[in-house]
């Protein structure tokens, strides 16, 4: 097998539209995803899982072309799936199997000889932290363990590209941290390109260096996270007492970017040359009291809010 060219995009989408009946789950999506760790962000129903299933060749697009690791998905879906690992969002296993037999079986399905698949199963289960529980029936596993076994079956054939659909779903904080550490390790130390679909911004921010934000089936924004966050200007968390929405409008009228959160705080982007003084001046002019002001740093949440056009 030829090693993947690290400079070539791992995934290329050209005007891809996927429909469920009359509903367009993906609308004219175009993107070129590089190697590395790519976050697929979007609210529920944005089309993240649909995109992954389309890339696996499980959902034929109504129009458009997709290339994964150089293979056209429509023409050679089996060649794509041979080099790709998929960790589904929902709880998925083959009933009645122990972890090691399940992962080994998945290795065989992916084309590994039986003995090699069994050896890989042991290695991969140890890697994901299930070495001690490998002879247990999967049905007795906790939610966190089931997430890990799904990751193990996706890794057993040593894919070049890994699709992870909400890998931290249902996990406790410790398990979530461990899973994210694994994901990060896979992308960095093991040099496997991965596409991490999640609606949890901290997960993506921790594990990925490139992001695609989907909204209502279309690409809202994409690029390296550091570039999308922007390095110029400063961000302030602001709470005011008084007409909050009027104050927000005033900030926007002044050309400042402002996003309100659910708990009455605002994140305001102020250009480098204009300091926090501007905020106090505007507050004074609009008769609101600044009760809280703290310098912050641009986050993925800001990128997300900007991409989705949230107020």
């Amino acid at each position: 097998m030829t090693p993947p060219d690290p400079s070539a995009p791992a995934v290329v989408l050209e005007h891809v539209t996927v429909r469920y009946g009359r509903h367009e789950a993906l609308r004219d999506v175009s993107a070129a995803l590089p190697s590395g760790a790519i976050g697929l962000l979007g609210p529920n129903g944005a089309g993240k899982s649909t995109l992954i299933k389309a890339l696996l060749g499980l959902l034929p697009p109504a129009s458009g072309r997709m290339r994964v690791l150089g293979h056209d998905v429509a023409e050679s879906p089996l060649a794509v799936r041979a080099r790709v690992g998929y960790m589904p969002e929902s709880d998925a296993h083959i009933p009645g199997m122990t972890a090691v037999s399940f992962v080994s079986y998945c290795g065989e399905l992916a084309g590994l000889p039986r003995a090699n698949a069994m050896q890989r199963a042991h290695e991969v289960l140890s890697y994901v932290g299930l070495g001690e529980a490998r002879y247990r029936n999967i049905e007795t596993y906790s939610t966190g363990m089931k997430q890990r076994i799904k990751l193990a079956q996706a890794l057993v054939h040593d894919p070049d590209l890994l699709f992870l659909d909400e890998p931290t779903n249902g996990m406790d904080p410790k398990g979530r941290d461990d899973m994210l550490a694994l994901v990060r390790d896979i992308a960095t130390t093991k040099a496997i390109t991965l596409i991490l679909s999640s609606h949890l911004l901290p997960d993506v921010e921790y594990a990925c260096d490139h992001v695609v934000v989907l909204h209502k089936g279309a690409v809202a924004t994409q690029g390296p996270i550091s570039a999308l966050k922007g390095t110029s200007g400063r961000v302030f968390e602001v709470r005011v007492k008084g007409d909050e929405s009027g104050f927000a409008d005033a900030l926007r009228a002044e050309g400042l970017e402002c996003h309100a959160d659910d708990v009455g705080a605002m994140r305001v982007f102020v250009p480098e040359e204009r300091g926090s003084q501007l905020l106090f001046q505007l507050a004074l002019r609009h008769g609101v009291q600044v009760r809280h002001l703290r310098a912050s740093v641009p986050s993925l949440e800001d990128v997300f809010a900007r991409a989705l056009g949230e107020p």
Binding site: M1, L58, H93, L125, K190
Partner: protein, 279 residues
């Protein structure tokens, strides 16, 4: 070094080309069932009639005056007919959960995200059940024929009934194909193996009962076509050269079975998908 660094290495070994997924699935299905003692017991019990028939053949050949036990083509047809009960139980036991269990545990998306096709998946599931059913139909029937040759010490019986091997093979194949396709298709309709079992029992017994009742009340022989099992008997009569009780033309009976098999294939084609699309 974190503990998760210890287990993972890149794989540099052999990878087989696509196209053997069906065998991987079938082998796993076979091994899964054969690990169950209850199922092994059922398989052994399904050979009890073989033992009885073997004793009959032995008596027919060795004891003078036991002409009653002398085999004919009808003997083998009857044997296969009697095996239908075991075919039913093995089909339910080994077949009901073949796809239903995978649907219940969302395993289809695991299977179909691997480099295998839907045909590989369906083929593997069909083969799993077919192998068990062949083991209780064609294999014992052919062994009986071999025993008859051994007991008689000559190939005269086979020579006198030249189409018997073909008839046993064709009748077994039809019986197995019908059971396997019907059960696996019904299994794909549900997430519960119990419900799939009930559906299959309905197809076998309820359809036969309704067909019989309608036949009795209307006097029309065509109602036999409602029951796949009874339709198969009509075809088997033709295969073994017997006289059928039914007046339904053979071509129509074959057509009904072909239509049923085609219906099962359509169901499998529609139901075996990694993504359930509710449009």
């Amino acid at each position: 070094m974190p503990i998760h660094d210890q287990g993972y290495r890149h794989y540099t070994g052999e990878r087989t080309l696509h196209g053997r997924g069906w065998w991987v699935i079938a082998r796993a299905g076979l091994m899964d069932r054969l690990r169950e003692r209850r199922f092994l017991g059922l398989l052994l019990f399904a050979w009890s009639l073989f033992v009885v028939r073997a004793v009959q053949l032995y008596i027919g050949e060795t004891i003078a005056g036991a002409a009653f036990f002398t085999p004919t083509e009808r003997t083998f047809q009857l044997f296969l007919d009697q095996q239908r009960l075991f075919v039913f139980f093995i089909t339910i036991y080994a077949g009901a959960g073949l796809i239903a269990s995978d649907r219940q545990s969302h395993a289809l998306q695991i299977y179909l995200s691997k480099p295998i096709t839907r045909n590989d998946y369906i083929g593997g599931k069909l083969l799993t059940l077919a192998i068990f059913l062949v083991a209780v139909t064609w294999v014992p029937a052919m062994l009986l024929l071999v025993l008859q040759v051994l007991f008689s010490g000559s190939l005269a019986f086979v020579a006198d009934h030249p189409r018997l091997v073909f008839a046993i093979t064709l009748a077994s194949a039809l019986q197995v194909a019908l059971a396997v396709l019907t059960m696996v298709a019904l299994s794909s309709l549900s997430r519960s193996r119990r419900f799939a079992s009930m559906l299959y029992a309905g197809v076998v017994f309820l359809a036969a009962a309704i067909a019989r009742a309608l036949q009795a009340s209307t006097g029309h022989p065509g109602w036999v076509l409602l029951s796949p099992e009874n339709t198969l008997l009509v075809v088997n009569d033709a295969i073994f050269g017997g006289v059928s009780d039914s007046t339904v033309p053979l071509a129509i009976a074959i057509g009904a079975l072909v239509a049923l098999c085609a219906g099962c294939i359509v169901i499998l084609e529609r139901r075996v998908r990694a993504v359930d699309v509710v449009a």
